[in-house]
Symmetry: C2
Amino acid sequence: MTESQSITAFAPATIGNIGCGFDILGMAVEQPGDVVTVGQKAKPGVTISKITGDQGKLPKQANQNTAGVAALEFVERFDLDCGIEIELEKKMPMGSGLGSSAASAAAALKALNTLFDNPATRRDLLQIGLKAEKAACGSAHADNIAPSLFGGIILVRNNKGSDIISINVPEKLHCVLVYPHIEIRTEEARKILPKQIDLSLAVQQWGNVAGLVSGFYQEDYALIGRSMQDLVIEPVRSKLIPGFARVKQAAVANGALGCSLSGSGPTVFALSESAEKAKQTGAAMQAAFKKENLSSNIWISAVNKEGAKIIKEE
Amino acid sequence: MTESQSITAFAPATIGNIGCGFDILGMAVEQPGDVVTVGQKAKPGVTISKITGDQGKLPKQANQNTAGVAALEFVERFDLDCGIEIELEKKMPMGSGLGSSAASAAAALKALNTLFDNPATRRDLLQIGLKAEKAACGSAHADNIAPSLFGGIILVRNNKGSDIISINVPEKLHCVLVYPHIEIRTEEARKILPKQIDLSLAVQQWGNVAGLVSGFYQEDYALIGRSMQDLVIEPVRSKLIPGFARVKQAAVANGALGCSLSGSGPTVFALSESAEKAKQTGAAMQAAFKKENLSSNIWISAVNKEGAKIIKEE
């Protein structure tokens, strides 16, 4: 790293959609997540000096890397005349439906904002983060970047990402993430979605969305469970995941409130009412994937209420 | 009325949909509403002895009248061996989008349940009420009958009406109802709805639904206002109401949080943050209808948290 001060931040993975809330709901978890260290350098420009944990897959050019794009936007918005050096530690799988690109951008932004004495408001961070997401994914959806930055359960009311609402986080809520070792590209997962849906199905879906949001506010775990069901997207996307139906069945039979795809998958998540139930659920889900000859990673945590955070200042 | 005890109940009008929540949200108001008096008689059977305020439009045959159907179902479910006599005072317009048939059924059920020492649970009342609604409207939607029975803001999560959630009522919330003197038949208003909608539009709508529900829980009036917008149904149905766009504009320009159709219309409702703003809003809405040469009725109230209630026992 550079000779000057350096700041290291962690930003969490996120569960996009949370079942029925396609493109509008997201939730931050405690693990996994990405770690980004930033420092100032005299020469203008953004340099990514090191990337670890990406198996050589991520570009080091700043304008092609989500942390780099976030830094470039940050420099431009606050008219900085110095340069920035970035180290990125990928500590979560890419293309897994866990908001990997958002986590890198969120960690970079949290670190940069601290390094430069917090010039960016919450709104600034979100807008810059959205630009980074757009560069990485081709479209600017806030359902990963917003919870990764701010933590908790986030409603992205409109698709411009300009109306972000923090929803109450039920005290006992736990998340299980099981990432089976197959690859799904977000773009592909978007292509197979229907362009139109039956009005009657849409009504059922927004009934579920309203029920899920009510469940979060009322801390009514049974209501959360019966409302999280996604009738529109999951039936289409889950076909890309071998054994999904069995994994879901195993989750629900082993204490999960409900189970669905995280974002566009292949990670499958479940919600539970306690850490203990989450462990039981997760073991059953991993076993079900195993029967499909799929190995998997698993993470269990409470909802992350804090979002991106500083973990080292030197 | 009969020689025995008689019980009189009032049940309120209701705002179906509350903007974006087509077929899933409903809200009870304090006025208008219907009044039903019931008494026991020796001879089995349900008799409607008197109807006032209906301009001779409602059938007196019990099985063709929503209060009568409710009574018939009540008698059957609780295996009563006596007869029932009903007097119905219509105190609200019919075919107005205010849940008139539901209010009659709710008032009858509240009165009957009290007369027979409360044999019916909340769930029983709802199920019987849904049957009455089905007899009156041809389909069983709970978004009027549930709030008329129980008061408050109600989420009907599924269309079977078996999952009814009471949502927090913001303390300062007020409703304006303006009923222009034209007729729209619910059946007609349903026929013109699209069978399918764009997924992108559905996503915006469920983003609004989630925002509206959040706004109610957080008592965030600005969020309620920007979320209640209905992008799917209102654009189609509002064409049946002369001057709707101007009425809505007048409401919003005069302090309303938002404005839309109540149920299938023609009543237009607005939500406001205070009684004072509601009055101002209502006057502007009535004036806008006047410019279309439409006279109207107006009611202003807080949200009715109580629902159907006993007003006389003799």
